[in-house]
Symmetry: none
Subunit: 229 residues, 2 copies
């Protein structure tokens, strides 16, 4: 199925270049020059991924990312930010806003496409219905349910959000700080070790189905959900 990519970029030459590269890679570009246009576009059709320039007229890309994350429609849509050299130090802020990846300008179109595909692959298993199945575990977004084979797994709210984040971002390591930002929402302050405890609880609820191995510890780095080994 063709993926729809929303490109929010005020510089027309970059926008056109990206649009062409997307078409060539069999993806459908949606173009917007500023935050307002972006919001209109999103209201019309929800894209599969959003490509967001860091600097935009009116509202910064970061601010727009925050708002999109709060909207129900776009909360789950992955975001890739385009940053110029020297804006890199702000990655920290971006990760707090729930940005999935960064591409530093100047970039080659191949590099950009590779990143987009990587992010889409990560949120893969999601066929658009909101149901994801990975490693014998099935999470049903709309129904807010978790299944292992025929069984339904009883799971608490935080555990559910954590698991959902992991399954939409599989095969990638996230630090405690990143998990707090993505799952708890950057605004509240909680101890980093709290993540450990919830990881433990999640593993414990998955244990009866021998699925606790899906959540792996990467010493010194964080945690990873992985269906392989």
């Amino acid at each position: 199925m063709q993926k729809r990519i929303l490109v929010v970029e005020d510089e027309s030459s970059i926008r056109d270049m990206v649009a062409f590269a997307l078409r060539k890679a069999d993806m459908e570009p949606m173009l917007a020059a500023d935050a307002r246009e972006a919001q209109l576009a999103v209201a019309a059709t929800v894209p599969d991924l959003i490509l967001l320039d860091w600097m935009l007229p009116g509202m910064s890309g970061l601010e727009l990312a925050r708002r999109l994350r709060k909207e129900t429609l776009t909360a789950e849509v992955p975001i890739i930010m385009l940053t110029a050299r020297g804006e890199e130090m702000d990655r920290v802020n971006g990760l707090e806003a729930g940005v999935d990846d960064y591409v530093v300008k100047p970039f080659s179109t191949r590099e950009l496409i590779a990143r987009i595909k990587a992010v889409l692959r990560r949120s893969h298993g999601d066929d658009g219905s909101g149901v994801i199945e990975l490693g014998g575990l099935k999470i049903d977004g709309p129904a807010h349910r978790v299944h292992a084979g025929a069984d339904t797994i009883a799971i608490g709210p935080t555990e559910y959000r954590l698991l959902h984040f992991f399954m939409t971002h599989a095969e990638r390591v996230y630090s405690r700080a990143q998990l707090l930002d993505h799952v708890w929402g950057g605004s509240v302050y909680v101890e980093e070790r709290t993540v450990d405890v919830h990881i433990r609880r999640l593993r414990q609820t998955l244990q009866p189905w021998r699925l606790d191995g899906l959540i792996q510890t990467v010493r010194g780095a964080g945690y990873r959900f992985s269906a392989s080994a």
Copy 2:
């Protein structure tokens, strides 16, 4: 290792400017004023990257790009095109001809060098997705994993950081002090000989896959990661 960049540009002032910038960035310029000179130069020495002006006397840069793509010698060499403003609509044809990137005139030398480096990085196993493959070893940054073929290699935190640094800076010798700086982070003080021990440990973890030879000792200078022999 010095990279050879073939510059095909009929305007001598631009050619000289680019040549100067390349030398400053530790790259070796090869100069050509038209398509014929370019083909002769390529026949003599295959460059690592080709910088091609859109407008050339005799044959258009685009046409030359197409021909170079068909030659076995140059089929894999990345191409960056230089286009004047207003020629932008033709990007479409360029991308179809297998051009890797564009730089629009007028450009700053800094931007040009940045683009060149980005494209070279990609042609060196780094496609921008954070996964690098060199000498039968694959390191996956986002997943924080190391692979040899189908196997996943278990590796400790410091070993991982060391390997990651080596693979992003292959074919170059680094002293113990430099490695401490880059891998440990300049702030903490540790003995230089500590590096030896971690090199040893890294070699040991790679040994079962006969990949320990990738890390070479350069007596009196330091260590080097090399995929070639």
